[in-house]
Amino acid sequence: MASDLTLGLMELSAVREMTNIGLGHATTALSQMTGKAFNMSVPDVESVALEQIPDLLGGGEARATGIYMPIEGDVSGHIAFLMNWESTLSLWRMLLGDAPWDPSQITEMEASALLEIGNIVNASFLNALSEMTGLSMHATPPYLAIEMSGAILDAIVVEACYSEHYALSIRTSITDYEGSMEGFFLYIPSVGGLRTIFKTLGIAEAA
C-alpha cells in the first residue's frame, strides 16, 4: 500500500551504497571545516515506523544538538545531524576557538556556526545523492535545537509524520580520531521519493 515500505535486499543495498557515498562527501566537508579527520561507520539502513525512531536512537534526556533540514525537490524528505553536548563544545572550540559556558548563553555567532556546519554537511550529502541519481534534492534552511536528545528526535519525527508514517531511517556515526567529537546522521527520505530513486536506478520495488 501507499504508505507501506517493503524493501528487498537489492533496494536496501542500493540505498546503503548511495548513502555511504553521500555521507563520505559530508564527512569530507566536515573535515575540511574543522581540520580534523573523521571516521565514518557504514550506514545502518532500517525500514521503520517513524514512531520508533526516538527509541531506536536511544533518545535520552541528556543535552544534545540537532541540526535539521527539510528536503524539497524530486526526492523530498528530512535530514538531520545530531551530536552530544560534549561534541558540540569541541566543535565550537575547533571552529571559533571558544565555547559558551552555559547552554542558555549561546550567542548568535555560536548558533550560526552550528547552523552553517549543518548546512554544509547536509548539503554535501544531498549533492552527492543528486549527482548519482540525477534527481533534485534541495535542503531548505536549517533549524538548530540544543535540547534533550529525545525531544530533538521527537520534533523531527513529528515534522516527518506530517507526510509519512513509515520511513527509512539511515544512521551513520562519525568520530574524530581523538575521540573529541562524534555525531550521527538521520536521513528520512519520503516513501514517494524513494520510489522515484529506485525507478531512476532501474531497480524494481519488491512486491
Binding site: 533549524y143 535540547e147 513529528v158
Partner: protein
C-alpha cells in the same frame, strides 16, 4: 487489559492505561504532548503521547493516539473501559515545545508544538472536561511522569531538573 502496578513508558502515538498503583511516563517530549488523566476514586490512570493536532482526512491511521482529535477520545474510552467514571476524570498535560528555536529561516517556524497544545486543550474542553494544570510551549524538551498513588505529575527538563506540575488527587 490495563497494566497493574508497573512503570509504563508511553511511546509516540501510544495510549496506556493502568489500574491501581503504577507509573506512566513519556520520555523526551519535543513538540508532542503527554496528556495524563486520572480517576482518583477508581484508581484508573491513562496517558496519551499525541504527535499532531488532527488526523489526516485521506489516510487510514492505525494509531488513534497519534492525533489530538482522535487520541484524547480514545484515551478516555480506554479509561472508562478500565472502570473510570467520566465525571471524575481530571487531566494534566505537558510538552508542545518548539525545540528548533534557532533558524536561518525567519519566515517559517516549526510551531506544531503550540498547535498540539491548543488542539488537546480544545478537545478536552469540547468534551466538557478540564485540564487542571499544563506546562506547554517554550523551547524546552520535557520528560513527564505520573505516579498513580501520589497523583503527582512531574516534568523534567535538561535545565531545571524534575519539578512537580500538579497533584491530580488534590
Amino acid at each position: 487489559m490495563p497494566a497493574v502496578g508497573s512503570a509504563v513508558l508511553v511511546g509516540m502515538a501510544d495510549i496506556q492505561v493502568i489500574k491501581g498503583s503504577g507509573q506512566l511516563s513519556c520520555l523526551g517530549l519535543g513538540s508532542c504532548i503527554g496528556l495524563c488523566g486520572l480517576d482518583p476514586i477508581a484508581n484508573v490512570a491513562g496517558m496519551v503521547h499525541v504527535m499532531l493536532p488532527q488526523a489526516f482526512q485521506n489516510k487510514g491511521e492505525a494509531k488513534p493516539g497519534k492525533f489530538a482529535d482522535t487520541g484524547v477520545p480514545a484515551l478516555i474510552a480506554e479509561m472508562l473501559k478500565a472502570g473510570a467514571d467520566r465525571g471524575r476524570l481530571r487531566f494534566a498535560m505537558a510538552g508542545g515545545a518548539q525545540v528548533f528555536k534557532f533558524s536561518a529561516n525567519t519566515e517559517s517556524k516549526l510551531d506544531i508544538g503550540a498547535r498540539n497544545a491548543q488542539a488537546v486543550q480544545e478537545v478536552i474542553r469540547s468534551l466538557g472536561l478540564r485540564i487542571i494544570a499544563h506546562d506547554t510551549g517554550g523551547s524546552v524538551g520535557r520528560t513527564v511522569s505520573f505516579t498513580t498513588e501520589t497523583g503527582i505529575y512531574t516534568v523534567k527538563t535538561v535545565t531545571s531538573g524534575e519539578t512537580t506540575l500538579c497533584n491530580l488527587r488534590a
